[in-house]
Symmetry: C2
């Protein structure tokens, strides 16, 4: 068997997230299920796709990473091309490269980068951008940058972790939060979060809190107390999935 | 009656272009038909939507312009909000403002601006960008800029006008062609065309010709002869609709 590292992009709108689960009737499919069907078809044997981590229903990716083990007898195939031929248009394999058998897409993660797109105009959302932004309305970016300083570093993020997490600890490290303008004409901006790993819906809860500060619904100085409370109900609402993109996953060898 | 100027954005993927036509069974609807249905519903009387010009099936817009005449008794309504409530998500009214009754969305046009998005990577298209780009593969942008100089100005564009045009003359003026990088990470670039007006599929034929030069399938110096031939079959193929966006329409009063 040869291990392949897959870099995968998808528009999450049509999918019930990354991870395959017991699917109730009528539920939308997952990205993983489509990748496994394609890889298994090409391999001629069932292939398990092991991702770097889950993404929620509706969340997008430009650099999700996964590994698969495929029979050496099928290594003459151009795996990227073959998989893209079988996959739906809103899932693309950007890269499929042989890696050492000790590469592990989940356990080898050094850091992850997520980007969240904010749309400041309350009157309309450009339909071209609608599936990729949160139309949160106007906000004060300076206040949000100041608030972000309370989140950067190692904290107990229990108040920013939604119910249903199986994580053993709620302590995580955010190494950086930065923002840039996506389009000066529309004011769409990108908020980038980097860290070793994130709890369930933690990025969406972080940006939800930053926007609350940027819209004067919360004071930046209250953030430390909210973190200390370890109480999810003390923090603002979760920002919608559609604004979020898993931008890239970093591994040691890169 | 009060005349309203509408600025309209749409993702053209699902539509059979801007203009309503006798629709054969099973054909996709047009953008105009949805706008007319919404406006007529709000006005309580049939409303005709008069656009600045057609856009082809699959072409997008961020600043299509149209005018409608609505009963004064309905002028207390927030027309932008009301129309967006009734319209599908991929059509948005960005602005609905009262204008003088001598404003005419088609006859008052001073210039139009189209943008064409090129995707240089042949291995994959990011699914987020797939509906908005032509994945033409690598090209030499310098060669394309040199070739563009042969198109700028007033010429007979008969060789770049597709069959089925009802235009009285094929002479048009392109005032500028410029390009910029949309995203340095992916290499996606935007080619902007401005002019008083364009023939049927003329922008798509222009960019098709420029890309042919950028990919060494045509020499820039051969362009004048192709224009002089007035023969559509002498020029390269029409570029796909999905890369094209009607960016804005300019009027005298603006």
């Amino acid at each position: 068997m040869t291990r392949l590292r897959l870099t995968v992009a998808y528009v999450g709108t049509a999918y019930c997230g990354w991870q395959t689960q017991l699917i109730p009737n009528g539920e939308r499919p997952t990205v993983q299920s489509f990748l496994e069907a394609a890889a298994s078809h090409i391999a001629g044997v069932p292939v398990h796709v092991h991702g770097a981590g889950r993404t929620d229903s509706g969340v997008h990716a430009e650099g999700q990473t996964a590994h698969i083990d495929v029979p050496d007898a099928r290594m003459h195939i151009d795996w990227q091309l073959a998989m893209n031929t079988l996959l739906p248009r809103d899932i693309r394999v950007l890269e499929a490269v042989p890696v050492s058998s000790d590469f592990h897409a989940q356990f080898g993660v050094v850091s992850k980068c997520y980007e969240y797109h904010l749309w400041p105009n309350r009157r309309f959302t450009l339909p071209q951008r609608y599936p990729f932004v949160w139309a949160c309305g106007p906000f004060d970016a300076d206040k949000m940058r100041a608030a972000a300083q309370y989140l950067i570093g190692t904290h107990d993020f229990a108040s920013l972790c939604n119910a249903g997490s199986s994580a053993k600890t709620t302590i995580r490290t955010i190494t950086s939060i930065s923002d840039r303008l996506f389009d000066p004409e529309t004011g769409e901006s990108i908020w980038r979060f980097e860290g070793k790993g994130f709890l369930k819906q933690m990025v969406r809860n972080c940006i939800g809190m930053l926007v609350a500060v940027g819209q004067d619904r919360l004071k930046a100085e209250d953030i430390p107390e909210i973190l200390l409370s370890r109480d999810r109900t003390k923090a603002p609402q979760t920002a919608p999935a559609q604004g979020l993109t898993l931008k890239f996953v970093r591994y040691n060898e890169q």
